[in-house]
Subunit: 203 residues, 2 copies
């Protein structure tokens, strides 16, 4: 069997850190996640490409027991205990009014970008795709900071939006628990991955 | 100003390779991208987490002039020349029938997963989010292989789907040119990034 890692420029250590040894954590120690760590994560995520540099992802950090409890009741039952006990939980949401920041993210074409997004449906579609790419970068960046990520989609998104985003501007896409993995943080065996031939075809 | 990279476990070299020095390329050399390189990219992407391990991203590689030309006519004008001249172009699409592979990706719960996705709208929504996360991993993985990615969303998605995916199962999300950066592959100045305070809030 050929060594598929041979063409990588990424170091073997960082391949393990970000991909092959990284796992989705379901339990966490109580070691706090610092603002310094979140700033380091943002400092990576910000570089990832987005459509027309729109960067529509917004991150809402929940740290206190009170703010956490407001979220937990809208999580699926299987996601409640871990969301209560992770040292930090992030709501990852798309800003559906992202063109409002065009003066910052595309100063030379701000007016044109704002005009091209008067249709709310186009804003939702473009915003959701680019914010989702950024959530991919975010999960990798959490691992780059030496932390474990526990991304979840099992929740009542409308209820979370109503609870936290009363002006309707942000729409929740993914909730991620962040911290150091605790005891029995994952099953010993990783779930199977699709093979190259399942995923890639050439025309 | 504090050094935001201090808490990173990622090496400084790989931070540059994947994030801070990586740029979206618009021109490419004619050095071919090998199947070995694409296998190394897939071998990273496959580890990235997806909802219920669904892994709905499918990758269609276009290498020949003929297959390339079938795509180029559906690209926005500004994306045509680079898509014609990149050594490899990948259509990144979501498999809207992803539950069909549940026996592979979640063998212990395959029947339950298939039953929970009888609604095509739920399949589209869940599939599109997870495939988009995987596109984020894909862009990072192209860079990990020492290559430049040129992701694009400026195209007629319906026309591409009609051209390549006649059974309606795959839906195009992003098209990515892949190769070594050519002359004037990018503007000297990177477009501005949103700051921490623009993106992150704590409750």
């Amino acid at each position: 069997m050929a060594d598929v890692t041979a063409p990588l420029h990424l170091s073997p250590q960082d391949r393990e850190l970000l991909f092959s040894e990284a796992r989705t954590a379901s339990t966490f120690t109580d070691e706090p996640v610092t603002e310094e760590q979140v700033r380091a994560i943002h400092d990576l995520v910000k570089y990832g490409p987005t459509a027309m540099n729109t960067q529509p992802l917004r991150v809402v950090l929940l740290r206190s027991a009170e703010s956490r409890e407001r979220l937990v009741r809208h999580m699926a039952e299987g996601n409640q205990a871990k969301t209560r006990t992770a040292p930090l939980t992030a709501i990852l949401a798309v800003d559906t009014d992202f063109p409002e920041k065009a003066g910052t993210f595309f100063p030379d074409r701000a007016a044109a970008i704002r005009e091209s997004f008067t249709d709310p449906e186009a804003r939702r579609r473009v915003g959701q795709l680019s914010a989702s790419l950024q959530i991919g970068y975010f999960i990798i960046a959490v691992r780059a900071a030496g932390l474990a990520a526990g991304p979840m989609t099992g929740f009542d998104a409308e209820a979370i939006d109503k609870e936290f985003f009363t002006d309707g501007r942000l729409k929740t896409l993914v909730v991620v628990n962040i911290g150091r993995p605790g005891e029995n943080a994952w099953f010993p065996q990783r779930l199977p991955r699709l093979g190259y031939e399942d995923v890639v075809t050439e025309l």
